[in-house]
């Protein structure tokens, strides 16, 4: 059984291309200079549509997390840590926290991005404690 895979639109493709190249990319607004996640046709902060892809630091902290004790499907093996990560750039995204004892994960834990191959075409960001 396969994990659910994103089917990116052309607009979203640079994010997924970046992941394959080992770089976390965020859209940044040339008008208000804020970053956003997920990618959109306009800036969700100010509404302007002048956006540039920029590499992110890949550093953040855990805003919240859960240890899934029951997997959503046979494609996943419980336990796994699902977390919301607040990046230094001021955006939040969902991801996995890996290479860690699930019992040691806490809100506020500093983490750094890593990349995991999800399928032949898709690589996604995951996070590890510093």
């Amino acid at each position: 059984m396969q994990r659910p895979l994103p089917t990116p639109s052309p607009l979203e493709q640079p994010y997924f291309d970046g992941c394959r190249e080992g770089e976390l990319r965020l859209q940044t607004c040339n008008h208000c200079h804020r970053a956003q996640f997920y990618p959109r046709v306009l800036c969700s902060h100010c509404g302007h549509d002048d956006l540039t892809w920029q590499p992110a630091s890949g550093r953040g902290v855990i805003a919240s997390f859960t240890v899934a004790r029951r997997a959503v499907s046979q494609a996943f093996e419980a336990p796994y840590v699902i977390a919301l990560i607040d990046l230094e750039e001021g955006v939040r995204l969902m991801s996995h926290v890996v290479d860690v004892d699930p019992e040691a994960v806490t809100v506020g834990l500093p983490v750094t991005v890593a990349f995991e191959v999800w399928s032949e075409d898709v690589t996604l960001p995951v996070f590890k404690p510093h």
């Binding site: 997390f65 859960t66 506020g108």
Partner: protein, 388 residues
């Protein structure tokens, strides 16, 4: 004739068999609910000129309201199916009122039913589960619905010091009420220890922090106060209504621990000219223990961050100061998916009529109902009152 919101009243309600109902499918339960509710209102099916239904997650159909009307052999002037999440229950009631106010219909039935317990296939369950997350930025990480709510629970624990034992009190309270309700699916009382020892699902949530899976349906009949004058039941007034929508996907939530139940409740209180202390019974959306706790805070029944201690105080249980989900709620009574919140409304009407058996409160005057959909995303609050 033009009608205002204050002219629209509830005149009838009914529930189908609830719990495990393997001999009826969703459309059959929904049609049965309409028929029973119309009868309860002292009307005939032919009087129904507006029908609002909730699409089924188990057997979704195009034009669900129209299919239900056809099944019943009626041809209403207005039909609409809603089919998103729990929050739409009270939005549908507001739409029914709006349809009457604007002359689109004069007698509207809101009917919701589904058969999650007896008719859900494994494949369909996967589709429904997956539909709640963002397809590109959440679902690939394998979150379950309880996991989304667990993210909120963990954040509340970190911010306010809420404990797992306090979350567990939600089910303790729910079962204390359900034990008094013959139609509740689970009626056995539980202790905090029972909840703590139930199967871990997504930390900190356990099996008994989660709502149940049921079959069942209910319908509500609304019309104008002048039309209600010669109907058998004393009409029930709509006093206030509000909504709040601040995101759809949990990873986009601007605030994990304060929800859009706050503006939703504020709007409803403002329209009704009431405050939380004026509410005699609250029927809130208890899909998970943590959802209930946050609604208690955001709707003003306790201070922010105090939801855990409030539940622990016993205030929400039979004999407590703030009777909560007096039918047992979706944690114990009936949760057939999207229709789950409608049983808070049928129970509220029963409480106004003095027909709530062992659960009956002393002459309640004002009841607040709240439902939410998505992951604490989309909120609707309805305050209803007994006619003088």
């Amino acid at each position: 004739m033009k009608y205002g919101f204050e002219d629209i009243v509830i005149v009838g309600m009914a529930e189908t068999d609830l719990g495990v109902v393997p001999d009826r499918g969703p459309i059959e339960l929904g049609a049965q609910a309409v028929s029973l509710a119309v009868n309860d209102a002292g009307l005939k099916l032919a009087d129904v000129d507006g029908l609002i239904t909730c699409n089924s997650l188990v057997h979704p159909v195009m034009y669900h309201a129209e299919a239900t009307a056809e099944y019943l052999g009626i041809a209403p002037r207005h039909c609409m199916a809603v089919g998103t999440g729990g929050g739409t229950t009270f939005t549908a009631i507001r739409y029914a009122a709006a349809a009457i106010q604007t002359g689109m219909a004069h007698t509207v039935v809101v009917s919701m039913a589904d058969s999650m317990r007896s008719f859900m296939t494994r494949e369909r369950a996967m589709v429904v589960q997956a539909s709640s997350g963002h397809p590109a930025y959440e679902q690939p990480y394998g979150p379950t619905v309880p996991a989304y709510y667990a993210l909120i629970a963990q954040a509340h624990m970190a911010q306010y010091g809420t404990t797992e034992e306090q979350f567990a009190e939600a089910m303790v309270s729910s079962r204390a009420w359900a034990a008094l309700n013959p139609t509740a699916q689970y009626r056995e009382r539980v202790t905090v220890d029972d909840v703590m020892n139930s199967k871990p699902i997504a930390d900190p949530l356990k099996m008994l922090d989660c709502s149940i899976v049921s079959d069942g349906g209910a319908a509500i009949v609304l019309t104008t106060r002048d039309r209600a004058a010669d109907l058998p039941h004393k009409p029930i007034s709509l006093l206030g209504y509000g909504e709040g929508h601040s995101y759809e996907h949990i990873s986009q939530s601007p605030n994990l621990t304060t929800s859009a139940a706050l503006p939703s409740g504020q709007a409803a209180y403002a329209q009704a000219g009431l405050s939380p202390k004026d509410i005699d019974i609250a029927q809130l959306y208890d899909c998970f223990s943590v959802a209930l706790l946050i609604q208690l805070e955001d709707l003003g029944f306790c201070d922010k961050g105090e939801g855990g201690r409030f539940l622990q105080s016993g205030a929400t249980q039979p004999g407590g100061a703030m009777p909560l989900n007096t039918h047992g709620g979706m944690l114990s009574h009936c949760h057939p998916g999207n229709p789950g919140a409608i049983f808070g409304l049928t129970e509220a009407i029963r409480q106004f009529r003095g027909e709530a058996g062992e659960r009956q409160q002393v002459d309640p005057q004002r009841i607040l109902l709240h439902a939410q959909g998505g992951i604490m995303s989309s909120h609707a609050t309805l305050i209803i009152g007994k006619e003088a």
